[in-house]
């Protein structure tokens, strides 16, 4: 990614007992970019976001926001950061509007209409005078998003902003994130499930598994990886490459890992490829067709069924 990142993780690791929460995670996000972090439950997305905003302490490594090392001393940077936790809370005893106004007040924002504007953007302005703690889970999530965006932050760190939302609300939040990204150039790090739609907006996608960031794609790389292709794991990749080129006339392939070759051809050619490689004495230990959608690809990467690039 580009230089002068708005937010970066530098070799973050954290364990709890024998459980690995974060495993040497590094990435950076440039201004205006949206990094979608996808992964299954307990893959480390939430622990990573909480370490990024200083709620969790990593055992090793560090996080920086706008150049400042994240920690209790770097509180001022949060004037420019909005955070949505995985389970957004509501302030007991306050109305929805007063709840947002309290966050604005703590951020030093004195715009009288900022709370109402934020509530309108997420579509819960009609709930403004209801007790915040009486909201349903999905409305509470919308309140959390309103709180995160109310002070017009330059960076948003959002943990599953569309989880559990109905179709209309989900669409509204996706449109809001698109607007913030395109019109205000808000930088975003969003933990999300693959099917929640945020990936479609992302400039970069990171795949988390077992606390580690096992793959990272930019938009082009993701599209490329999503094309139909055959993946083959062979004993001798250089020789296999020769066979593919000279015997089968294939040029659109890439040696991705030590023994993995990705060949961009229709899946119907799988047996032809296998026969040619075996006939040349090359041991083929795995041969799969990837004909799925982008979502399926990410799901497979998240679960470990597909190899990382």
């Amino acid at each position: 990614m580009a230089s002068s990142p708005v937010i970066e993780a530098i070799r973050l690791s954290k364990t709890q007992g024998r459980r690995i929460l974060l495993d040497d995670v590094s990435f950076s996000v440039a201004r205006g970019d949206l990094l979608a972090l996808v992964g299954e439950a307990s893959s480390g997305k939430t622990a990573l976001l909480r370490a990024l905003v200083g709620l969790a302490h990593s055992d090793t490594g560090s996080a920086r926001i706008m150049g400042e090392l994240v920690g209790p001393g770097a509180y001022r940077v949060f004037e420019r950061v909005g955070f949505l936790p995985a389970d957004p809370p509501a302030r007991r005893g306050l109305s929805v509007r007063r709840d947002v106004e309290t966050s604005l007040s703590l951020a030093g924002v004195r715009e009288p209409d900022a709370a109402r504007r934020a509530l309108a953007l997420v579509g819960i302005e009609d709930l403004a005078e209801k007790p915040a703690h009486s909201l349903s889970d999905d409305s509470r999530r919308l309140l959390g998003i309103a709180r995160a965006i109310a002070h017009s932050p330059e960076l948003l760190v959002l943990d599953e902003p569309t989880r559990g939302l109905g179709g209309v609300e989900r669409r509204r939040i996706l449109d809001l994130l698109r607007m913030l990204s395109l019109e205000r150039e808000t930088t975003m790090v969003v933990a999300t499930r693959v099917a929640d739609g945020v990936v479609e907006l992302a400039s970069h996608v990171g795949v988390m598994r077992g606390g580690g960031l096992v793959a990272e794609f930019d938009r082009e790389g993701l599209r490329e990886r999503g094309r139909e292709h055959v993946e083959v794991v062979v004993s001798d990749p250089p020789r296999a490459a020769l066979v593919l080129e000279e015997q089968l006339g294939l040029t659109d392939f890439a040696v991705c890992q030590e023994h993995l070759i990705r060949i961009y051809v229709p899946g119907s050619r799988i047996s032809e490829i296998n026969s040619a490689l075996v006939a040349d004495g090359i041991e083929v230990t795995r041969l799969t067709v990837n004909a799925g959608t982008l979502e399926e690809l990410l799901e497979r990467l998240s679960s470990g069924e597909a190899a990382s690039p």
């Binding site: 957004p88 809370p89 703590l106």
Partner: protein, 242 residues
């Protein structure tokens, strides 16, 4: 920044049932203590004998102060612990505010609350005494006011320890449980005599026991500052990974 934090804190507490529970304990406790004091003095005077839990020499402060302390414990553990239970700690620690300012602002709110509660308790006692006409049996209102405010100010010194327990163990109940357990234990085992040996209640015990002023003030200040520092440290190092 501290002003903003105090405003936010008061807004959150305004409609809280816990605050009303504390008021009930301070005012109701004072009223009940005055009635009990009146009963025990009446028993002692007429030599009708004593009940197991009543002594003829029991004064108002013997009963009102433990109940007021309970009210202070509840308010402090609630102010510092509730955010960990309802998840609002995430909002607080990702707001652009210093964590030591959070602790100071909350202690200002608690100290104010404790003084107001003690004032209410004393007011209730004055009203009860007027109703019971017990001025010939008990200390006058000036003495009870001194006891109420002396205990309140001394109790404030111990409250950062309750705050620390709330932050360290992330919730209302652990700190409240710890405070109540100590209070009940000392009252059950030896009353104020044993209570004086416990650091948790040391300043208040010294205030009641009439120790040297310099010793009382020094210990109170030390305990207060130590508790504050421990609370700030616990909040700065809180590791909330889920």
């Amino acid at each position: 920044m501290i002003g903003r934090l105090i405003t936010a804190e008061v807004a959150g507490l305004r409609r809280s049932l816990v605050v009303w529970l504390a008021v009930l304990l301070a005012v109701g406790g004072s009223v009940v203590a005055r009635m009990m004091s009146w009963v025990t003095h009446a028993i002692g005077r007429t030599e009708l004998g004593t009940l197991p839990f009543l002594r003829p020499d029991m004064g108002w402060s013997d009963m009102a102060v433990p109940l007021a302390l309970l009210a202070y414990l509840i308010v402090t553990s609630y102010v510092f612990g509730r955010d960990f239970e309802d998840g609002n700690i995430d909002l607080l620690l990702t707001a652009p505010v210093r964590r030591d300012a959070v602790v100071v602002a909350r202690m200002v709110v608690i100290a104010t609350g404790v003084l107001v509660l003690s004032l209410m308790g004393w007011g209730a006692d004055v009203a009860m005494r007027a109703v019971l006409v017990t001025s010939s049996l008990d200390p006058g209102s000036a003495t009870s006011a001194t006891a109420a405010f002396g205990s309140a100010i001394a109790a404030i010194a111990t409250l950062p320890l309750v705050a620390w327990a709330s932050v360290r163990f992330r919730g209302v109940l652990p700190a409240l449980g710890l405070g109540i357990a100590i209070e009940v234990a000392v009252l059950a085992l030896g009353g104020f005599t044993l209570m004086r040996t416990l650091p948790w209640f040391l300043p208040m015990s010294l205030a009641i026991g009439g120790a040297a002023l310099w010793l009382e003030v020094s210990l109170s200040v030390l305990l207060f500052l130590g508790g504050l520092a421990a609370t700030v440290r616990a909040l700065r190092t809180a590791d909330l990974y889920e």
